[in-house]
Amino acid sequence: MNAFYERHKEEIERILAKYPPEHKRSAMLPLLYLAQRDEGYITREAMAQIAEILDVSVTEVDGVVGFYTLLHDKPGGKYRIQVCTDLPCALRGAEQFLHQLEEALGIKAGETTPDGLITLEEVMCIAACDKAPVFQVQTGEGLTYYENMDLEKTLALIAEWRKKHTKTPEGNSS
């Protein structure tokens, strides 16, 4: 079939088995997560290969990647800090919090720290409005919520990650 398929043959077959063959396009999201685990983002090659596996057009795969904020088509940091700045959170100071964070990290939302550790992102409501400022952290492992945050707590968190990654330089790839 293709390189992506060969690399994850067993897992892909396990995923495909969950869906009736005539609806195999339903396996799109699990396959995209698989691809994202490989590189931290979904490469163009991966999109084309997933399209081939699922018998859809690459444009359709692209559209799905574009729709979901948790799927990325560009490389980013190991940790993606996704701060909610939607209206309720904004009323609880999310925007100030974001700006402080930007300043502390020396990057703007949408950018990645030079060491490749952190990408800062803005997202819409993540359903924890009452605990703002709130962000979720996306890694290859999945998502973790951090609620009622402030700059100090956040920087402490980051310091921890940094420590972890200087000890095990190969990082947390699974």
């Binding site: 057009s57 690459v58 444009t59 359709e60 692209d62 559209g63 574009g66 729709f67």
Partner: protein
């Protein structure tokens, strides 16, 4: 038939089939519910919210299930607390819809205000201005002002080519998703998608090649704003400057109903000229769609081609201009001398009226009527073709369709669409072809055979034992399409006979919605057969022996160097055409004919529906309509033919040709209400396709219906070919380099630049060829340089050669294909 439901919309009672949406019911009740994302031909998605209405249902007692009644006995209606999207609400018995309330008016206003927050409002330079749903709905329901801060307006790219033919203006797009859904659901080329979300949602294509679909132009009709434009019409004219002429596309045997939009054209010296081709509704034929070939090439050849303007006669070996009188007298004299030595070679590009006159004239002199084609079987489509009143839309559950030897989307795009839709409604589709084609996705049974072994497929089908054969035999209605894939005259004749036998022996012949359809190479081949023209097995041999040859709308010399040589044998050659073709350059007399956009007439499509086309632009000075030229010639030969008008000509042919008996132009002009209701006033509902006010045409009765005795033909002998080595097989591709499409600048980037062939990977390997290699293709005494394209879908041991793309091939033959070693 289907269950009916009665509901009330703004006080009007309306009864529609169950399963309809409220938007459609309202349209029939003449209540306008504005829409953007909804389209009656697409699945509803409810994403624009323009269609919000108040929806009420009869209240039921929870305990008894009885309908609760008011004091006056009328059912008590309970309205949903919030507005509902009419496009995703399906009709129910007793439903009450209100569209004129304050609440609804407010919602429409708000939705429009939202849509306009970032709309560029560049109507004055927008191609859609004047026929734009957003413009119209804003005028009707929108706010006069915006509360949105101007500086928050998004500024986006205004010229994004999605492919060679369609340009996207991102600012104008309102993200209705119609184009995306059209490509996925109807065209089945899902190369468009929505990307991102919220205010940052864009239409994208990242496929390679990008927006490369034979259907792409239709998205510009259903785009409710000026976001999608064609490279053909972009910035060409404003809708209100143009007037309309109804016509037919003449590029394939579907006969799509089209409308030419016409305006004086400064670039053509102020002449009236066609500015664009638009679909015209005919739910029996093309619904409200046309393919890109029709849209982008249906008129260019007539308008931009180098046309003949006056008769030419040969003098001292050279062609020189002459008067009509001189030219015709010369022809008449030669024809009189030739007598039964006359051969008239005509093509199915001509109208029925032209062909009828040509046939009469040829018969009058005892000559021979020859049809320029490679596909046979026209007697059988006349005998057991689709029955009167046939409607492909009626095919569904319980019916069966066989598509044999045809790459349907390439040969006749709209037939692909109609067959696929029938399969989606539940008809059993059987596809017999040596290689996979797009229609096969919907097939229940796929019969794969080797090129040249068509006979084996028919043996099995006629024996009736296989599952596919039984599905066909048992079907309530059975339609058989056969096409051009690898067929030549002898084989197609056998295929038609075998198909006729199947239809007759299974009791399917002579019924509406059953019968035989030949996917002809030309738009009016069926009409040509009906008028008595027949192909000959060895055209070169026939041409060599003629005394006088009358070539009309055909170019044998241009098609095939062997025919060019054979023409030398003709004592006297007359060519009647639009252009100075290869054949015309060899002629003794050349007669300039009018193009079909300059005159009227009728064509009979492959479904045997006779349809009318009308003069669209004034003819250039000089050329005459074919039927009139023939009539003038006939007069000199003491034969009286109708040359005054096509209406009269049609009357004359209807008096003589059995299938056309009694038909008049009036019958062809019959229209009926067709769903969805198309109108130029309610553009938001179906788009800019034109309604059909000119006639839907008439399906001819087949011989069985005419009461003739039609005995099943014997199971035919298929020609046996014993091949050695590599077999070249002709196939048909929509985009070729035929003379008609070659004049379209718009389509030019999509047409093949060079001769190419398809071979299977293993064949390429055996021949030592790489993909994209240049190779030498030797066919008999001719050799071509071709680009090799390796395609895993091609069977091994053959080389597939597209027709009219630089290589002359009409019948499968053994060939050599060799790598060309580049000169170093």
């Amino acid at each position: 038939m289907s269950q009916q439901v009665t509901l009330t919309i703004d006080g009007k009672q309306v009864t529609v089939p169950a399963g309809w949406t409220v938007v459609d019911a309202a349209r029939v009740a003449n209540v306008h519910i504005p829409v953007f994302c909804y389209h009656p031909k697409l699945e509803p998605v409810g994403m624009c919210r323009m269609c919000l209405v108040e929806v009420g249902l009869p209240e039921r007692d929870r305990a008894t299930g009885e309908i609760v009644r008011n004091e006056d006995g009328s059912p008590k209606i309970r309205f949903f607390p919030k507005l509902q999207t009419a496009c995703t609400t399906y009709v129910q018995e007793g439903m009450v819809i209100r569209t004129t309330t304050e609440q609804v008016a407010r919602a429409r206003k708000d939705i429009l205000e939202f849509l306009l927050t970032s709309h560029p409002l560049d109507c004055p330079i927008c191609d859609k201005g004047g026929e734009c749903p957003l413009q119209n709905l804003t005028m009707a329901y929108g706010p006069g002002t915006s509360r949105f801060p101007y500086e928050y307006k998004l500024h986006l790219e205004k010229r994004v080519p999605l492919g060679d033919l369609i340009i996207l203006d991102r600012e104008r797009c309102i993200i209705c998703g119609r184009c995306v859904r059209f490509q996925a659901e109807i065209a089945e080329d899902p190369v468009l998608s929505l990307d991102g979300r919220g205010r940052a949602t864009y239409i994208i294509t990242t496929s390679d090649p990008p927006f490369d679909s034979y259907w792409s132009g239709n998205t510009t009709d259903i785009c409710p704003v000026g976001a999608l434009t064609t490279t053909d019409f972009r910035f060409d004219a404003r809708p209100w400057e143009m007037h309309q002429a109804a016509s037919l596309c003449n590029l394939c045997p579907v006969g799509c109903n089209i409308m030419f939009d016409i305006r004086r054209e400064p670039e053509l010296g102020g002449r009236f000229a066609v500015q664009r081709v638009m679909p015209r509704q005919n739910e029996y034929v093309n619904e409200i769609w046309i393919c890109d070939k029709g849209r982008f090439a249906a008129y260019h050849f007539a308008q931009y081609g180098e046309r003949l303007t006056q008769p030419l006669v040969r003098e001292n070996g050279k062609l020189r201009p002459a008067s009509w009188r001189e030219a015709l007298e010369r022809v008449a004299q030669a024809f009189r001398e030739a007598g039964s030595g006359l051969v008239t070679l005509a093509s199915g590009r001509l109208s029925n009226e032209d062909l009828f006159n040509l046939a009469r004239l040829t018969d009058h002199l005892g000559g021979r009527k020859v049809l320029d084609t490679f596909l046979a079987g026209g007697e059988w489509t006349d005998k057991v073709g689709l029955g009167r009143e046939s409607d492909l839309a009626a095919l569904g559950e319980g019916d069966a369709i066989l598509v044999m030897a045809s790459d349907l989307e390439e040969e006749a795009p709209i037939f692909w669409l109609r067959v696929k839709e029938a399969a989606q409604r539940g008809a059993t589709l059987v596809v017999a072809n040596p290689r996979p084609t797009k229609i096969e996705r919907h097939a229940k049974h796929v019969l794969r055979y080797v090129y040249g072994e068509e006979g084996k497929v028919w043996e099995a089908l006629l024996a009736g034992a296989s599952e596919a054969a039984q599905a066909l035999a048992r079907a309530e209605n059975l339609v058989i399409f056969y096409g051009q894939e690898g067929l030549d005259l002898a084989t197609s004749d056998a295929v038609a006979r075998a198909a006729a036998r199947l239809l007759l022996t299974t009791g399917h012949a002579g019924k509406p919605n059953s019968g035989l359809v030949a996917v002809w190479p030309r738009n009016n081949d069926q009409g040509a057969w009906d008028m008595g023209f027949r192909p000959v097995a060895d055209l070169a041999d026939t041409l060599r022996q003629v005394k006088a040859l009358y070539v009309v709308a055909a170019d044998p010399a241009g098609d095939d160097p062997h025919l060019a040589a054979a023409l030398e044998g003709a004592d006297f050659l007359v060519v009647q055409d639009l252009f100075l073709t290869e054949t015309a350059q060899r002629a003794d007399v050349v007669l300039p004919a009018q193009a079909y956009i300059e005159r009227g007439g009728t064509y009979t499509n492959a479904l045997r529906r006779v349809q009318r086309f009308f003069p669209a632009v004034p003819p250039p000075e000089g050329p005459q309509p074919d039927f009139a030229i023939v009539a003038a010639l006939a007069r000199l030969l003491d034969l009286n033919l109708e040359g005054r008008s096509t209406a009269k000509g049609f009357e004359a042919l209807a008096a003589q040709v059995p299938a056309y008996q009694g038909l008049t132009y009036k019958d062809l002009a019959r229209v009926e209400e067709q769903f969805p209701l198309v109108s130029r006033e309610v553009l938001d509902y179906t788009g800019t396709a034109y309604p059909n006010g000119q006639g839907l045409g008439v399906v001819l009765p087949n011989a069985v219906e005419r009461g003739e005795t039609v005995a099943p033909p014997e199971a035919p002998e298929f020609p046996v070919r014993a091949f050695q080595g590599l077999l070249a097989v002709p196939i048909t591709r929509l985009y070729d380099r035929g003379t008609l499409v070659a004049w379209s600048d718009t389509l030019a980037p999509r047409l093949p630049e060079e001769a190419w062939v398809w071979v299977a990977p293993e064949t390429a390997r055996d021949l030592g060829l790489q993909d994209d290699a240049t190779a030498r293709l030797e066919i008999g005494d001719l050799a071509y340089t071709v680009r090799v394209r390796v395609n895993p879908a091609v069977p091994g041991g053959v080389v597939l050669v597209p027709r009219s793309v630089g290589v002359v091939l009409f019948t499968p033959v053994a060939v050599h294909l060799k790598a060309v070693v580049p000169a170093s």
